[in-house]
Amino acid sequence: MEALKINGVSKRFGRTQILDDISLTIQPQTIYALLGENGAGKSTLLNIINDRNFPSKGEVVLGDHEVHNHYPSLQRLYLMSDSNMYGKRTSVSGMFQLADEGYGHFDYELAHRLTKAFGVNEHARLSNLSTGLTTAAKITCALCVNADFIFLDEPMLGLDANHRNRFYRELMKTYEQRPRTFVISSHIINEIQSLVEHVFVLHDHHLIADEDVENLLNRAYTISGPADAVDQYTQAMKVLDQQTVGKIKTAYVIEKLDDQQPIPDDVTVTHMNLQQAYLALTNGEDEINE
């Protein structure tokens, strides 16, 4: 199956630069995380990929075709977004019907099971549901729609821990049964770390990371110990972030450690989780810019 390629996409709204020369490839049947602080341009990027916004520069290509105004391509992409795409009177079941009419072969069976599990009334209007239940209804739709590339913009917005767990489980289940691509944009990094294979990080309108989670975490280290020992050990490294509590210093680096360089006895080296790696990456980027 073909990959979805984003080639040199930039976006300006008036004088504000939202995205600056973003290039990335989204493979079929893979789960991605799209990370970035508010205003980094995540939603805009997703809107451009799905042809809801035009890029100021660059293009989005699926296989041999530019996605823009190309019906067979658009039929393979689905974006669940935060912005309200439905009319005021659209009900939950109406949303399912639209997805069925638009994409065909909607999985009503799964949808009914999920709305029941989430406690969503299918006859209720979307505009009358709480934030959490609206999200639950929308992710239900996204998991049941017939498309190859599913983009989920903030799919955990307002969901409580129970509902989030159910979502993760159902995502894994449907992904195993019918592998397709999911791109999850979220701030709840720790909870999606084990779900995703690959991560994109947007920061300050640029793409600063595009890497397999395993590779990234394999070379993401927390180095802590007495300040001078840590300083000495990390002398030749690019320290992305650091904290000092009393005499103990913790440095965050993302690079391959030199096997030849012995780790001092009083220094501990551990791996980071995805959230720490994300914070280190974005912080490191800020320091370069300062």
Binding site: M172, S194, E214
Partner: protein, 127 residues
């Protein structure tokens, strides 16, 4: 089934290690079926590719075997194999660090031997 994950290394490695531990301690006996990739992936919220990678490590070490259409089963002699590997690893995993730590604490060889003896005695009374 009780998996616990930390930041000690790649997730697939932790899955492999913990499954191995479960086989070693006899939670899953030889010839018994272990949870499927699907089950583990759904219960633990882990990408199936990661789970599969961990399981394949055990398959490559012939601790698990795939039975077509049925799932993954603990291979015959798996426990024995784990025991052998662990014995091989025992020297540099435990003995070397034990001696290194003992040196730091100025514990000489005879003293260390005594301590080990004491450990064995206490251990046997506790059992």
């Amino acid at each position: 089934m009780n998996f616990h994950f930390d930041q000690s290394g790649p997730l697939y490695q932790q899955i492999a290690d913990q499954l191995e531990e479960m086989i070693f301690t006899g939670i899953y006996r030889e010839g018994e079926q272990v949870p499927s990739t699907t089950q583990l992936s759904q219960e633990l919220h882990i990408n199936p590719a990661t789970v599969l990678k961990g399981m394949n490590q055990l398959v490559n070490r012939q601790l698990l075997e795939k039975r077509r259409g049925l799932g993954m089963f603990v291979a015959a002699g798996a426990q024995e194999k784990i025991m052998e590997t662990r014995k091989e690893d025992f020297y540099h995993d435990y003995v070397q660090s034990l001696v290194a730590e003992a040196r730091k604490l100025n514990i000489n060889e005879a003293h260390l031997m005594n301590l080990i003896k004491r450990g064995y005695q206490n251990g046997s009374t506790e059992d």
